[in-house]
Symmetry: C2
Subunit: 316 residues, 2 copies
Amino acid sequence: MSNISVTVPTFAEVRAARLRLNSRIHFTPVFTSQAVDERVGHSVFFKCENLQKTGSFKIRGAINAVSQLTALELSRGVVTHSSGNHAAALAYAARLFGTTAHIVMPTNSSAIKIAAVENYGGRIVKCEPNLAARLSVAAAVQSETGGTMIPPFDHAQIIAGQGTCAMEFLEQVPDLDVMIAPIGGGGLMSGTCLAAKSLSPTIRVIGAEPAGADDAYQSKLQNRLIPQSNPQTIADGLRTNLGDLTWPFIRDLVDEIICVTEDEIIAARRFFCERTKLIIEPSSAVALAAQFKRNRDSAARPQRIGIIISGGNVEI
Amino acid sequence: MSNISVTVPTFAEVRAARLRLNSRIHFTPVFTSQAVDERVGHSVFFKCENLQKTGSFKIRGAINAVSQLTALELSRGVVTHSSGNHAAALAYAARLFGTTAHIVMPTNSSAIKIAAVENYGGRIVKCEPNLAARLSVAAAVQSETGGTMIPPFDHAQIIAGQGTCAMEFLEQVPDLDVMIAPIGGGGLMSGTCLAAKSLSPTIRVIGAEPAGADDAYQSKLQNRLIPQSNPQTIADGLRTNLGDLTWPFIRDLVDEIICVTEDEIIAARRFFCERTKLIIEPSSAVALAAQFKRNRDSAARPQRIGIIISGGNVEI
């Protein structure tokens, strides 16, 4: 994967990403819910990336990466392997910059995810549903096309792009005491730490994970990167491993990780959807479930808590 | 039902209602969707009353009515019979003004609707699931408590309150060519006509109905009020008859009524929810389904179309 930059991004790169994204994506709204506030005893703010272009925050990193390609690189296309939101986001970003996205997707990908990629003009290359097949098929597509590999999270430009979400959030709600986001591969969380800790050094950044895919929690506990084995969770966006680039952010900048059960995820999602009328992915409910759990032994004074709702792509 | 005013409201009463509602309800946002615009070839704007307090537009009429009660009337409470959004809205409005809502609900009401009324402090009086029982139990509760009956739609203050939705909508999107809303009892549609035709005399107002509950369509066709018999539709908010007060608005001010099948309702709801990430009731999808149908033989020049999304209370 020779095209992957291993530069660790800085906050300057988040700022630069913000300018590249400007007017190409939605400045997503912040929702509040009286019912949530009453339940947790704090003021909770939701940054609604489910209302973002392509239905998730992933478009931020994808556009930030694709917009920096040279004309020659654009003429050769971009490549990734993903069955999720990154696939749709990269297809959308590629179309925006007049290039082709070659998306390696496992044969068991859901119909709605395939339809989203096709809808944005992506070229789908099917592969067997295992990691070895995904990697080898992606490598073959890359060598065949000369395209640039844009991985879903372990990439400086992707991390910098995802950081623009927290940056916007702190403009919309400047005095947050806490920011909570889910952790899958760690791209969103790395960008969130980078932006939030730079703009608001005293903010507490909390990661949320399913108990059945708690590699970040275990890694922090043992202070070394532990791969996720056999993830068991409905939060399909959070089954991935941390990466070599994202792990240092999680290790050094995340203040706390809270793990939640499947029942807690389902209950939090139902509560949120019924009260706000917004559709969110199970992965996004993980962050609210973490706050619900946290609340039981929370601070004495009322806090202002920001929760990043990462996406809303579910089959209706 | 001696407490029901039979005054037909004017636009002045919509304006007055607006002042009464001010700061007590949400100024709901207008959403747009690129996918919807591409599909219909016009610019479509959605006024999101699913994001309103209590999850539907019904709070507008309920607060407008309850806020005009005297201290003596407030001391005796309010009464209605409803298994739907009006029940929750009236309970909320009653609590806001320090009075009690006695809500007659059929024993087969859904758990979530009962929970909503209880959550807002309403007093539920159960009755057999038929109209005769609802009317007689409501009359008994009224004579027992001396409370004021606040019916769901056939009431001048309710109609005036519902009209504030279209009034806001035309402030948010001033140059709409068309406004579409669903028709159940006709309270929302009557208020919509009143406000929209007053503020924008050339606007085309279109009503949307399920083919399985098309009493307004049939009534207009025959130019006389025809009661709904045996309604068959998943759009549970649209099964009711028009009333004596709402029928003249529908007859004289609605330009066209479009009926849609159950399949069209379901497909429109799925399309809307998947693309906007907003949860809407089947009744709200009826208005979008009408536009989808309308589109096939629509105007040559691109139009600006406003659709009122009436509510979002569904079991998750």
